[in-house]
């Protein structure tokens, strides 16, 4: 098999290594987009927790008010 001169072989070698790097970059980009989605979901869960806490506080206030009114009337 005759060796290709460097000028001819160079583009093939560059193409092979670029294909590898491109595949790795695409993979990392997909992983990064998944990470962004996970971050967004964490934000949504935090929001859900805040909403739940606020509702629990409002419920506590509602429970406390009638008790306070009763003690005042007495």
């Amino acid at each position: 098999m005759p060796a290709l001169p460097l000028d001819d072989a160079g583009p093939y070698v560059a193409a092979a290594y670029l294909v590898f790097l491109a595949l790795i970059l695409i993979y990392v980009a997909i992983m990064a987009s998944k990470l962004v989605r996970i971050g967004r979901e964490v934000g949504e869960i935090n929001e859900l927790l805040d909403r739940r806490d606020r509702r629990a506080e409002a419920r506590d206030d509602d429970d406390r008010e009638p008790a306070a009114e009763e003690s005042v009337s007495r």
């Binding site: 098999m1 294909v19 990470l35 996970i38 869960i45 739940r52």
Partner: protein, 243 residues
């Protein structure tokens, strides 16, 4: 669970990949027969070796899953096969580029090494559609494990069959006599294989950690959503949904 040791592994991958490429282009001599085009070999062969080992590892985790019923093994097997498929695509493309430069053809159908690798690739290309076709997670994991074990056993058999084939034009890198690489080439090749293996393990752990985080988030949402959030269950997926 899966994210442990990711930082040093990532660093090791970067150092080894950069080191391997530096050795390829600045240390290893040009092949007397093929010239500069042989540099592709330091990428193509490690990609193929690591992809095939990843397929076998997927089978080993399949066995572990069937033995223990631990869904983490199913996830490990799934991610190993998924990553091996990506590396196999890279091996096929880089091999084709080399073949075009060396043989003048992108693909040679009479060459057992090429055809056998393509068969293995196409076999594993069925893995994801197979998983996707099964909705029940338990059945999906069991069927996928059986597939991974059967296909994993096929990989070394396939390798042996190719070795026993009479004629090939594809160069032999690994042989009983240890090949005919001079010291610099051998060192470069070994570092390249190691770099690819470490890269595989790093990406495998990254994907496992990402999948685990997604699963934990979904479980958390499900627990929180009992009355106030219209939680939508995850749709059908080829990937394991819980561990």
């Amino acid at each position: 669970m899966f994210a442990r040791g990711l930082k040093p592994l990532s660093l090791a991958s970067v150092v080894l990949i950069v080191g391997a490429f530096a050795l390829v282009f600045f240390y290893a001599p040009n092949d007397a027969d093929q010239g500069f085009i042989q540099k592709i070999f330091y990428l193509h062969v490690p990609l193929a070796i690591v992809a095939l080992c990843g397929f076998v590892a997927g089978g080993v985790w399949g066995i572990q899953y069937l033995r223990t019923g631990d869904r983490a093994h199913d996830l490990r097997s799934y991610v190993a096969i998924h990553l091996s498929l990506i590396l196999a695509v890279a091996a096929l493309i880089t091999g084709s580029i080399w073949a075009k430069a060396a043989w003048g053809h992108w693909w040679v159908c009479e060459e057992p090494t090429l055809v056998s690798f393509l068969i293995v690739f196409l076999l594993y290309a069925c893995y994801q559609p197979l998983r996707f076709a099964i909705e029940d997670p338990g059945r999906q994991a069991r069927t996928a494990a059986v597939f991974a074990i059967t296909a994993g056993a096929f990989v070394p058999l396939n390798f042996l069959a190719v070795r026993l084939a009479e004629s090939f034009t594809h160069p032999r890198v690994l042989s009983a006599t240890g090949g005919s690489m001079p010291g610099e080439m051998r060192l470069t090749f070994m570092v390249s294989v190691l770099a690819m293996a470490v890269l595989f393990v790093t990406l495998w752990k990254y994907e496992l950690a990402s999948k685990q985080a997604s699963m934990q988030l979904r479980a958390l949402r499900r627990r929180l959503a009992d009355d106030d959030d219209p939680w939508v269950p995850a749709g059908r997926s080829a990937a394991p949904q819980q561990i």
